[in-house]
Symmetry: none
Subunit: 409 residues, 2 copies
């Protein structure tokens, strides 16, 4: 079964709001085993909406619209759908009653313009809105289905889940889609691509997609099957192959972030950590403490931007700073050792580098970063060269630091 999403609203075309509804609906439709081949956005313009609807009905089984169900003259969805399907608009007394109740409860006078929301195309089913005023619509037309949902995500999402998902499940039978995302760091997209090329070419019902982020490459396995068990089996089969090929680079699955993975290892191994940051300016501490319960293993973070703080707060040797400069292998290591002593932690981590856009030199360009890790008697110092904006360099550095902890525990 094929579905198509039409988002309606001039505010989307002006870039005033980001179209999160299309992503939400797509994700839910994929989970129902429905293919989505197109998203279209049109403004509050009846002619363009009508032509987008016609095109969508010509190539998909179900068309889902969002937006344009409000009480103002700009809200054109219901009228346009009624005209396109050749159905008169009729007043629904139950909806009108609900609307009046909505305003009564909120101690507002019933605004006369809201009466428009009680009119539905003849023969359409309507979906109650428990949050706002606009009811949703389901219209069956020439063997296809049009469903119209309101634009605010807080109204659209519960209506879709409560009424459209069961409707689609009934139409598609028992097909189900399961997915699993395997997350890696430390390899470029092209490298991961080269290692799992054959899997990326798999054809449905089981497919693998590759998604590159900053210092992270994800592989998402999707399996379509008659039941959960078969889908799960298909996923595990591909996952096993991916795991054997990408082993050390995999840090987690699905919603797990790199900081969650590191938190899990620290908790499991009962190790405490303290970090001394220069160029990341607190970002690594922030990510480590984004995990609930992090006070168990995170003892201390020190943002040592200036040399005096590196010397007084961390015990970095003044001679080392003079001889090698603040951005050096040697200073990173002394920072890691220093914070470990100050905090009394098992692990000490030191970061120094140049986040830019200014401050770079020929021999020490923007993006040069040293990260040092001290665990008991083990010491690791790594040199990195990152590209991008200041915040991108900061993020990549924090990502590399988390990965360094993960790999050395």
């Amino acid at each position: 079964m094929k579905a198509e999403i039409i988002s309606i609203g001039t505010e989307i075309l002006l870039g005033h709001i980001v179209n999160t509804n299309a992503a939400y609906l797509s994700q839910r439709l994929a989970e129902c085993g429905v293919d989505v081949f197109y998203h279209t956005t049109v403004g509050d313009n009846p002619a363009r909406l009508s032509s987008a609807l016609k095109q969508a009905l010509g190539r998909s089984d179900i068309v889902i619209t969002s937006g344009g169900l409000g009480p103002t003259v700009d809200d054109i969805t219901t009228v346009t759908v009624a005209n396109l399907t050749g159905r008169p608009l009729v007043l629904d007394k139950t909806i009108l009653g609900n609307l009046k109740e909505y305003f009564r409860v909120r101690k507002h006078r019933f605004p006369p313009e809201n009466i428009r929301q009680a009119y539905v195309p003849e023969g359409a089913k309507w979906i109650a809105n428990n949050v706002g005023t606009a009811p949703g619509l389901i219209i069956e037309y020439e063997g296809k289905t049009i469903t119209c949902l309101p634009g605010p995500p807080g109204e659209l999402e519960p209506m879709f889940d409560r009424r459209i998902v069961p409707y689609i499940r009934k139409m598609t039978g028992c097909w189900t889609i399961r997915s699993r995302t395997i997350k890696t760091t430390g390899l470029a997209e092209s490298q991961v691509n080269g290692m799992v090329k054959d899997l990326l070419n798999l054809k449905p019902p089981t497919t693998v997609g590759i998604y590159a982020k900053l210092k992270e490459v994800d592989l998402k396995i999707m399996a379509k099957a008659k039941d959960e068990k078969t889908a799960g089996r298909a996923i595990r089969k591909v996952e096993k192959k991916i795991r054997s090929r990408l082993k050390g680079y995999i840090f987690g699955c699905d919603d797990e972030r790199l900081e969650d993975a590191v938190a899990g290892i620290l908790a499991e191994k009962k190790q405490t950590i303290a970090v001394a940051e220069s160029c990341t300016g607190g970002l690594l501490s922030n990510r480590l403490t984004d995990v609930s319960g992090s006070s168990k293993y995170f003892l201390m973070g020190l943002v040592a931007y200036s040399n005096p703080v590196k010397i007084d707060g961390l015990g970095v040797n003044e001679k080392t700073l003079k001889k090698y400069g603040a951005v050096s292998r040697q200073v990173a290591l002394e920072m890691a050792k220093g914070i470990r002593v100050v905090a009394g932690s098992d692990i000490g981590l030191g970061i120094t580098g140049i986040a830019g856009p200014t401050g770079g030199t020929r021999s020490k360009p923007v993006g040069l970063v040293y990260i040092a890790l001290v665990i008991n008697k083990r010491q690791v110092v790594k040199e990195f060269h990152f590209k991008g904006s200041r915040s991108e360099i900061k993020f990549q550095t924090s990502q590399a630091a988390l990965d360094l902890i993960r790999k050395n525990l």
Copy 2:
């Protein structure tokens, strides 16, 4: 002039990523006075991309695509555009050189699949990518223009601004749209709405929109005019009204972040700062150091998650911790005083609170936060009650802390 945006990527149709590029491009196009009537998203499928391109070229002057320029077989944009416009793909030696340099600098072997990115449709102009590997493309075809940009926002945005905006400005001649965003913090959306209701009802050519974010409400003035000067005058007229009504709540304009505003004030007043964070876990330090040149005023950040660090690192009195608890007005103040002494800064700031989701009690619920600020002999301590997820509470706290600095300098 009409433009149209085609987003390419199965990951968008699966709802794995939200299409922020369409919003970004739309906003920038509106600022150039270009009308956008459609957004379309298609997957990594040459036939569907080709038909979407044909349709777009039939109704718009310029078609902007995002995505599908990567090195893998899934990346179909260049080939599809070449086929549609009937141009052979030719190897561009400059691009190939750039690509090789890209990997050389990063000390990676050149992956053979990346050679695909050096092929461009004959006669196309290409746009250098200073962040990633994929060059952008500008192809003039039958009086229309197709421009292809890479999918990652960090690559697309600078390329669009640097090369496509000037290109469009040349095409559109003298109609211009100017905008100005006035940013406030400290008021709820409904409060701001009430204070500028009449301005929100303005009709084109000058309009005002309201946009609510976490602990921030923005007002965007847009003016369309024959020339920059007239547009600028229209904007200033409305801006003056907004400023007189929202005065103390306005922290900045346009791309200025709250941390930029604070950085500007600190630099102007030649004041240095040091911060001691508990529940924000380094986020405030991170935001303060997101500003380039922050080493001039930011002396030190200490993430003091545990009581021992509060006592040893900041000199918080053990008795205060026992009597009032770590999350208290008194401890926040001692943290602010302590970090100011340790760092030798003009300003000391202390934060303590409960970011949740666990750790709350009846008398000290999740979201309770104390922020203390010490400037010379002045001391301010504020109590806040935030709602939301762990990271939302952390962000709101950092926002309130920055605003506290701004207001008290």
